[in-house]
């Protein structure tokens, strides 16, 4: 396939105007010794038909969650995406645009981000939100850096019930400025608040809690906020936005910064990305926030319009003193989330959340009745829960896979103490029948 429009004749005309004979001469300033003297070893070129065939064949080697009913969650969720979402984000005026540096011809993306920021504020109960970040993990790490800068402290407490990958990313980010990261144990599926209090001192910048946490359990955010605030540390909450249709907003519980993964809001799972990090915070922290922010203003004729604002925080102005090095957002994913939330509306988000809750409990109650299966702990959860299994989850999952089901996540991989524990997820896309099949197979009813 060729996306170069030049005809041979045009190329000659252009070269002639430049006073050179061939394309080679354009590169005369590149020293001979570093020239590549062979062709790049990349297969192709292929025609569009051949490309389509190749990609179809690769895609066909995968088994999708439409072919296998999946009970996997752990940060990425199979929520239904209304058809209109894909149609809107396929408008190429949106997806072939760059960052909106020229606001006069970028009102579409700017206004959509302003709407996105508003929705994130509404869901999280916070004052301000940014235009989005890479993903939930990096947004949470950035929140920790932001809290350290705002408090001029360098210690971060993170609960072990925060997604293990998010904690890994936090440690990687902390290795640059050499911040101290301390992990706080859990008890009965939730952050051990007594242990948390033992670590709290005047050097702590932030306490990071996930809601619902990695195990699906609901944390006592209000108590965590109170404890953190006693030593003037900030509470960073990493929240599943779908749960916020039903669960108390982190803002109402006292959180100072709220981050999270917005994939569940109309973005395909796509084997882990691209997804949608979001970040919101209290008004007093507004100018410490990393990333792009859109603000409302007026044009020279008094008409309402939108611009990127508070840019003096950012790398292109502050350079080595910037709040972060981030210089993009996930604009198209944020647009998808905005369209998704508009389609669901005020009532719809709550009803999706409620279906997840009801179906998860329905599955949970049947599974714990099976011989050998036990609840890991007894705490309220949202759409995910942990089950103690009679056999290693790996064996169970093998049996499920042979019968067309993808089981839960084997928790031993991240928590050695949770041997024979499985994290299961049920969203609104799983049917009663799927759940019955899962329960029957777990109970030993195999093909």
């Amino acid at each position: 396939m060729k996306f170069i429009p030049h005809t041979g004749e045009e190329r000659q005309q252009m070269l002639k105007e430049l006073g050179i004979n061939d394309l080679e001469e354009l590169f005369a300033e590149i020293p001979e010794e570093i020239r590549l003297k062979r062709e790049l070893n990349v297969p192709g070129p292929l025609s569009e038909l051949e490309v389509a065939r190749k990609l179809n064949s690769l895609a066909g080697k995968n088994k999708t969650v439409d072919q296998l009913a999946a009970f996997l969650g752990a940060g990425v969720y199979d929520h239904y995406i209304p058809s209109a979402v894909q149609h809107i984000i396929s408008r190429s005026e949106f997806y072939t645009a760059y960052t909106p540096y020229q606001p006069e011809i970028s009102q579409g993306v700017l206004q959509s981000i302003f709407e996105f920021q508003t929705m994130i504020c509404q869901l999280t109960g916070m004052d301000v939100a940014n235009a989005s970040m890479y993903d939930g993990a990096s947004a949470t790490a950035e929140a920790a850096l932001m809290a350290c800068a705002a408090t001029r402290r360098s210690k971060v407490l993170v609960s072990k019930t925060v997604h293990p990958q998010y904690r890994e990313v936090l440690r990687t980010y902390a290795s640059g400025p050499e911040l101290q990261v301390i992990e706080v144990d859990f008890t009965q599926g939730c952050t051990d608040l007594e242990k948390l209090k033992q670590f709290l001192d005047k050097d702590v910048a932030a306490v990071i809690i996930q809601q619902p946490n990695f195990f699906g359990s609901l944390e006592d955010l209000t108590a965590a906020a109170k404890a953190a605030h006693q030593v003037k540390a900030l509470l960073v909450t990493c929240a599943d936005p779908v749960s916020l249709g039903l669960i108390a907003s982190p803002g109402s519980c006292g959180a100072d910064i709220v981050t999270g993964e917005g994939q569940g809001l109309g973005i395909p799972m796509s084997y882990g990305g691209p997804h949608l990090g979001y970040m919101a915070c209290a008004a007093k922290l507004m100018r410490r926030m990393p990333g792009r922010i859109v603000g409302e203003t007026k044009d020279n004729q008094g008409r309402r319009g939108y611009v990127l604002t508070l840019q003096a925080r950012e790398q292109h102005i502050r350079r080595e003193k910037a709040t972060s090095n981030i210089c993009s957002n996930q604009a198209l994913c944020a647009l998808a989330a905005t369209v998704h939330l508009s389609l669901l509306g005020r009532k719809g988000l709550r009803s999706v959340a409620e279906q997840c809750l009801q179906k998860a409990y329905y599955a949970y109650e049947q599974i714990i009745k099976l011989p050998g299966y036990q609840p890991a702990w007894a705490v309220p959860f949202f759409k995910e829960f942990v089950i103690k299994t009679p056999q290693p989850p790996e064996e169970i999952n093998r049996r499920l896979l042979d019968n067309g089901i993808i089981g839960g996540l084997d928790l031993e991989r991240y928590y050695p103490q949770l041997k024979n524990h499985m994290l299961l997820c049920v969203t609104e896309t799983r049917t009663k029948e799927d759940i019955h099949r899962l329960v029957a197979l777990l109970g030993g009813d195999v093909k």
Binding site: E29, R91, S106, P274, A331
Partner: protein
């Protein structure tokens, strides 16, 4: 033309998408979750119909300018055509409907695609290994510098300094700080190259790395690159390549051949994945063999005929994001790569450089070209003789909007006053370049003869110039209706 906010279209009780009936027996929510943990207030989301939503966002899309709308010579951003087949490929259910925790045996196609993409990018950059994890260019920079930091630490060295040229993109110094280094700037010489003597003065046993873009942000090939690499390597430092300008050199030379040790690429520039109005992008990082153990984990490996995720990498810097990559973006880049092949990639760079030189040539009599040299895929220029008229580069850029163009990058790099940076890319035809050049020349005439027309531009866009001062002084960052 103005469009209400989606919230202003809201009517109580109106619904868009209805979820299916719940097919399992339900309990009272309060029986499952303590009342204190439940939300008391309803989030004030809009109440709109599907048609309301579709019309609203379609109207917004028409207030937006993309590559599919017209010429977009935005320097340093490589706004080339984004082939449609790449979008189709990434939207195949065989890719979108995969959960990242699925067993590896059920995602062999996805892993195979990632594995090949890693290898193709290593081949193009002259590196030995590549990670696809970073989510954007700046994220790649952070990954690359943390790899350098871990590598030096492993060798028992404590080097604290990262050197960046004064022409560098702001992310370079910002990233160096974030990675815990001290930033030292080195100036450019009169030909736009790194000033070798100035470099010698700052490079020492404390130097961890030099971050460089080549071609530079001035669109010029750094002619002394071999010597620069030698200076830095002799002092025990490493060379970091910012791949923003990779579109100029594919198949001609490579960062590896120039002596770089770490590279990040922007799939959304060189490899034709769309910018999405600001993201999602993807910023893979390539390294030379001695740095490979420090790559983020997991990395995709091939054993016999099976692909798997390798987590057993004890020296790894860890993760920089959730899961493995902006996979959907990687699918688009892979599709583009095989549609081009080795010969096609070289042709892309040749024509990107041809187009830039041709456009520069067409404008040379009308604009000042501060560096009288062959340019690579982009060039910098600035107006002359307009100061007396009170016309600035910003005004010229705004006037270009009236002519239906996206303006070039302006006021970057910082070392050239009133600068414009133009990058036409290889996908634009000669007549597009000719038309654009004619329009620029006409705007320059207007600026001389009727400066008000230019200073008050744009005149034909949905909104006029916006008050950024008030936006920053009294920020309104959300709808409060």
């Amino acid at each position: 033309m103005s469009e209400p906010l989606i919230f202003e279209l809201s009517r109580p009780g109106r619904r868009g998408i209805l979820p299916p009936e719940n097919d399992v027996p339900c309990k009272e929510v309060e029986q499952l979750i303590p009342a204190g943990m439940l939300r008391q207030d309803e989030p004030q989301l809009p109440e709109v119909s599907e048609l309301d939503v579709v019309r609203h966002y379609t109207r917004l899309s028409r207030m937006n300018y993309g590559v599919d709308v017209g010429f977009y010579p935005l320097g340093s951003c490589t706004m080339k055509y984004n082939p449609k087949i790449c979008e189709d490929a990434a939207n195949l259910p065989g890719f979108t409907r995969l959960h990242p925790y699925q067993p590896e045996e059920t995602v062999q196609g996805a892993l195979e695609l990632m594995y090949h993409t890693q290898n193709y990018l290593a081949e193009i950059t002259g590196m030995d290994a590549v990670t696809l994890q970073p989510a954007a260019g700046a994220h790649g920079e952070l990954t690359g510098l943390l790899i350098i930091k871990a590598y030096l630490k492993h060798r028992g060295e404590k080097r604290t300094k990262v050197i960046v040229p004064d022409s560098a993109h702001g992310t370079n110094p910002a990233t160096a700080t974030l990675a815990g280094f001290k930033v030292v700037q080195v100036k450019s010489d009169l030909r736009g190259n790194v000033d070798i003597e100035a470099l010698r003065e700052v490079v020492d046993e404390d130097t961890a790395a030099l971050m460089l873009t080549n071609p530079s942000t001035l669109g010029l090939f750094e002619e002394n690159i071999v010597q620069i690499a030698e200076i830095v390597h002799n002092a025990g430092g490493l060379l970091y390549y910012d791949g923003a300008n990779m579109n100029a050199i594919m198949g001609i030379t490579s960062p590896g051949r120039m002596g770089f040790d770490v590279v990040h690429l922007n799939l959304h520039k060189t490899f034709a994945t769309p910018h999405g109005g600001g993201g999602p992008g993807s910023g893979p990082v390539g390294v030379k063999a001695e740095l490979e153990p420090f790559l983020p984990k997991p990395v995709v490996v091939k054993e016999n005929d099976t692909y798997r995720l390798d987590y057993n990498r004890p020296l790894s810097i860890g993760r920089v994001r959730g899961f493995y990559a902006s996979f959907g973006v990687v699918v688009k880049a892979y599709t583009y790569l095989i549609s081009q092949g080795g010969s096609g990639l070289k042709s892309i760079s040749e024509h990107a450089v041809l187009n830039a030189n041709y456009l520069m040539h067409r404008l040379a009599g009308h604009l000042n070209i501060p560096f009288d040299r062959r340019c690579m895929h982009e060039f910098v220029c600035r107006p002359r003789g307009l100061k007396g008229k009170g016309v600035r580069t910003l005004d010229l850029a705004k006037r270009m909007l009236d002519y239906g163009y996206h303006p070039p990058t302006i006021y970057f790099p910082l070392i050239v006053e009133e600068v414009m940076m133009m990058e036409p890319t290889e996908t634009e035809s000669k007549e597009t370049l000719d038309d654009f050049a004619r329009s620029v020349i006409k705007i320059l005439q207007e600026a001389a003869e009727d400066p008000e027309q230019v200073k008050t531009a744009p005149h034909s866009t949905p909104v006029g110039r916006l008050d950024e001062v008030t936006a920053a002084r009294k920020p309104v960052l959300r709808y409060n209706g």
